[in-house]
């Protein structure tokens, strides 16, 4: 008789046992090339776990990371490579999906010890949104670039403007998200913006990049690398840190989100209309169970939409919910981006958010929240595919 099939889920099957990052730099300021940054972050994560790096047998990343899995395996002398996954899509939409792919490799028995990482040296390879030097353009960008819709803030501003129009969201809601990130960065020595405080007045008088985005609504561009190590849950106790277990993950986007240019049926959206319910279903949890959220901020407006789509408030209540007091650790209503995130810690393409969620579950964040059993990460609002994660302590299993 065939054995009964077990439930298809990642819930409780995989643990994050190590985290590591390099120093974070302003773009172009890294003394190390990109591949060396990746190696340093991976070794730091292994050291954190108490793991021999030669035991790694898989690598996962996203956004076309240039640090190739086979080269990493050769450089580190890993004994055998058993999983190498790259998540399709750009931006930070893959920052949680890469973790999901690594976890799926482990649960499926393909690999036993998978590193998920992102490495980025924009000084070496050029900045995002750099458009000078392109003579002709085809495909989606052909419908945008000749009209001056060139760089990411310009590509997302109209989506946010429409959302603000449909739901009466005010600029102050966007501002609160920026203020929370900068507030948290002031106590985070890793943060590039540590020592550069932001207040409401400074935000209000800052220059427009593309309305409705002020300068402080936009993420930084940085150099650095960050990595985590995943093992099967049954091995979690073999390592030195308190494990953070994967409670759920989801990837994708809804009906025709990828209809370009700007033709997705649900336009004023962060693309989580199907992905947020999938996450909660796998985890068996709801928004009220979540104590702390790291939400990818390419631009603050995307965070407003992403949080609403994850059920933390109705879009019509965004102005009331999104206040600095509600978003700040240790005991705001929903502490948000407690490391400073993409706006103020480092634009590690959202992967710094995954590390911060692990720290919150461990209880080791510099902005530690009180309700830390369940931590959420939201990756890549407004792109497709997007992804998300729920992490939890052993007590949540």
């Amino acid at each position: 008789m065939a054995p009964a099939r077990t439930e298809r889920t990642l819930r409780g099957r995989v643990a994050i046992i190590g985290i590591g990052e390099t120093d974070y730099y302003r773009h172009g300021a890294s003394p190390d090339p990109e591949f060396k940054l990746a190696l340093k972050a991976i070794l730091t994560a292994c050291e954190d776990a108490g793991l021999d790096p030669r035991e790694i047998d898989g690598f996962a990343s996203y956004s076309d990371d240039r640090s190739d899995a086979s080269r990493l395996a050769a450089a580190l002398g890993t004994r055998g490579l058993r999983a190498a996954t790259m998540q399709w899509g750009g931006g930070g939409g893959g920052c949680c999906a890469a973790v999901a792919n690594a976890a799926a490799s482990i649960v499926a028995g393909l690999a036993d010890c998978v590193v998920v990482f992102r490495s980025l040296a924009q000084g070496q390879y050029g900045r995002f949104g750099q458009t000078t030097g392109i003579e002709t353009i085809s495909g989606e960008k052909a419908y945008l670039m000749p009209y001056g819709v060139l760089a990411p803030p310009q590509r997302f501003a109209m989506r946010v403007r429409r959302y603000m129009h449909e739901h009466g969201v005010r600029q102050e809601a966007l501002r609160a998200i920026a203020l929370a990130s900068y507030h948290h960065a002031q106590s985070n020595p890793r943060a590039v913006m540590c020592g550069k405080a932001l207040d409401a007045e400074k935000y209000d008088v800052s220059r427009w990049i593309a309305e409705p985005f002020h300068l402080y609504d936009c993420c930084m561009e940085n150099d650095g690398a960050a990595a985590i190590v995943l093992v099967p849950a049954e091995r979690a106790a073999d390592f030195r840190n308190k494990p953070a277990y994967l409670l759920g993950a989801a990837v994708g986007s809804g009906y025709r989100t990828g209809a370009m240019p700007h033709n997705s049926p649900l336009y004023a959206s962060a693309s989580f209309d199907t992905v947020a319910p999938d996450l909660y279903r796998m985890a068996g949890l709801g928004p009220s169970d979540v104590g702390v959220v790291q939400s990818y901020e390419n631009f603050t407006g995307g965070v407003v939409m992403a949080l609403a789509e994850h059920g933390f408030f109705k879009p019509e209540d965004a102005n009331e919910f999104l206040t600095p007091e509600n978003l700040i650790a240790p005991s705001g209503r929903l502490p948000l981006n407690t490391s400073g995130g993409n706006l103020a810690e480092c634009y590690m393409h959202g992967f710094e958010l995954v590390l911060e969620a692990v720290r919150q579950v461990r209880g080791t964040s510099v902005n530690q929240v009180r309700r830390n059993d369940v931590a959420m990460v939201i990756g890549g609002p407004m792109v497709t595919p997007v992804s998300n994660l729920l992490l939890g302590s052993e007590a949540t299993l």
């Binding site: 000078t132 419908y143 670039m145 001056g148």
Partner: protein, 150 residues
């Protein structure tokens, strides 16, 4: 009747739109050069589709027909851009990009610039008409579809 201009809303030097190697969007760009707005419409199930694709997303018939559409619509969203993301835009000052939906073509949407004062107040829902902006001496030559308030 929609208008035609030979002056350019934005300075010269921005990327020039061309069809893909497989020519998927060639009818659209050739249409603009002739002062016509063409949008895909499936001849089997009549659904509109923009941007173009090789297949109808509803009934899966290949090669949806290109249908001429009157270039008028209404503003669905907008942005005023201040930061120059290209050397051609340095010192240019703010400009307006609008997302226009075309109700009589399945409410497909297109991005263009809103002609006139770049500092004007913009209203979502306002009616706009298309203006073909030709660049005949550029290499390669091309045309854009801009918008102005009706």
């Amino acid at each position: 009747m929609s208008d035609t201009v030979n002056s350019s809303y934005l300075p010269a030097g921005l990327p020039i739109p061309v069809a893909e190697h497989d020519s998927l969007s060639a009818p659209y760009w050739e249409g603009l050069r002739r002062g016509r707005l063409l949008v895909q419409r499936c001849s089997h199930c009549n659904i509109w589709q923009f941007g173009p694709e090789w297949i109808c997303h509803r009934c899966h018939a290949f090669d949806p027909d290109w249908t001429e559409v009157g270039p008028c619509g209404r503003i669905f969203s907008w942005e005023r851009v201040w930061h120059p993301s290209h050397t051609a835009l340095k010192e240019h000052g703010p400009y307006l990009a609008v997302l226009v939906e075309i109700p009589h073509a399945g409410s497909v949407r297109m991005v263009g610039n809103l002609l006139g004062d770049p500092r004007q107040a913009v209203t979502i829902g306002a009616d706009v008409e298309g203006v073909f902006e030709h660049h005949p001496v550029s290499d390669p030559p091309y045309s854009l579809l801009q918008w102005r308030l009706c």
